[in-house]
Amino acid sequence: TFFALLLSPVLDEATVQALKRISQAGCGTSMVFLAFTVVLYLVLRFYRQRFKSDDAPKIHVSLSVSLFLLNLLFFVNVESHGQASEAACWVRGAVFHYFLLCTFTWMGLEAFHLYLLVIRVFNTYFRHYFLRTSLLGWGLPALMVISTGSANSYGRYTIRNAKDQITLELCWIRNKAALYITVHGYFLLTFLFSAVVLGLVAWKIFTLPSATAGKEHRQHWKGVLTVLGLSSLLGVTWGLACLTPLGLSTVYIFRTLSSLTGVFIFCWFSVLYFPSQRAAPSSSGTARADQSHTMSHD
């Protein structure tokens, strides 16, 4: 057997603590705003009949619910790791994994829905569309968690610092192969799909002839904001994780943007459904898309 010492870069204590605080602050803020999103949806659904038949807000809310529960479990997992027994840790790791996969899946479904609205446009009516979407959004992660659990992959997971001391201990996937396939691989698939759809949508937004002559500059900025809003909805900010090996600044950017996803979703939801009810329906690219979607379903 050959033995050796591996020299690997690690984050120092101060950086780890700073990143931990950013994550906790971001996830906490996200949870509040995601709760607002769900409440807002329920209020709008109560007052406006259209919300009951419209699938787009239902998908946004499903993503919000899964992200809210993911953030909640992150807090539980990080704060109370030491008290959990082996069995409890196994369950906690599985539930945490489940909501992470639900979040990825709903981000992918957001991308698919956007594809139907903006790229495909015609013949987008499917019977029991939201029911099927929900089965996929909540069911596929469950299947993956069951198969990961049957391989006994959940348990205590530790992250160490430069002095080999434990900086973070949580209930998570211990088996590296399972982690790579069901988290990294699955995220990469949904991320690539979302990125392609977002690219096509961005191309449509910026190349379609505008009906608002003389307001090109304003339209351009609206287009940019629309693409940014959609990016957070499709989880593109999470893709910054791929850039984290480039340096500490990308780690900070990734942590900040990904933990604030809930805030961005709330902003998007508010902008999309509040003004679009009052202002002219063609005020933005997505408002147009939303309307066409509603019509196709009607």
Binding site: T1, F2, F3, A4, L5, L6, L7, S8, P9, V10, L11, D12, R160, N161, A162, K163, D164, P245
Partner: protein, 230 residues
């Protein structure tokens, strides 16, 4: 009669597996440590990893040499009695062939084999063979793990490997760990060291570094690796 000339072959990437461990063959195989850089020559990493792993087996099974002293590899091959119950200590000083030392001697780089390890071999016979190798793997891709870079952007410290082979049996689940001490410069705060072994069951190119069963004790200018297996 003139010795038939050997056809030149691409040792690093050519077909077939080289299993000759004469000095000239070791030299040829060692040229791949520098030749097999990322994106340069096409090298058959799996074949090259297997070559050096087989070299360890060759040392304990067939080698007639007691020591090998080449610039890139230093080896000690030693028979020992399985009747002894004391632990064995060897020096691993860079640029020197490993040699047995007393317990009290504490060279900067050393290995300690526990008595229980030797005792566990008693059933196989009264005498067994031990090979200790220090290998300089150079700057290339060999023994660097998949994609030429180790998980998390790590690298092998000083490109230095210590090979330990005892007898012909696999040794796992030791109650008392073997101990390898590596000396080195003090590392920057944002870097850490992990004790690892080459696990042939991992990775697409005939192995990858793994740390299962090995504990790392960081001590500033030296690191102690305690592993429960060979």
């Amino acid at each position: 009669q003139e010795e038939p000339r050997r056809a030149p072959r691409n040792v690093c990437g050519g077909p077939g597996v080289v299993h000759d461990f004469q000095k000239v063959d070791l030299h040829s195989a060692a040229t791949c440590f520098t030749k097999c850089q990322l994106g340069s020559n096409a090298c058959d990493l799996e074949k090259l990893h297997r070559y050096w792993l087989n070299y360890e087996s060759f040392l304990v099974e067939n080698s007639s040499e007691k020591t090998v002293n080449m610039s890139f590899v230093k080896t000690l091959v030693q028979d020992f009695s399985t009747d002894i119950s004391e632990e064995l200590h060897f020096s691993l000083i860079p640029d020197e062939v490993p040699k047995q030392i007393k317990k009290e001697d504490k060279p900067s780089d050393r290995v300690r084999l526990p008595g229980s390890l030797l005792k566990s071999l008693r059933d196989k016979g009264s005498v067994d063979r031990l090979a200790i190798t220090v290998l300089d793997i150079g700057p290339g891709n060999i023994f660097k793990g998949p994609q030429g870079s180790l998980e998390g952007g790590g690298r092998v410290l000083n490109n230095r490997l210590v090979g330990l082979s005892v007898g012909r049996t696999q040794i796992t689940g030791l109650s008392e760990p073997l101990e390898i001490t590596f000396s080195h410069r003090r590392q920057p705060r944002n870097m850490t060291l992990h004790c690892v072994f080459w696990d042939v069951t991992k990775g697409p190119t005939g192995g990858d570094w793994a740390s299962e069963g090995c504990l790392t004790e960081l001590r500033g200018e030296e690191t102690v690796c305690r592993c429960n297996h060979l």
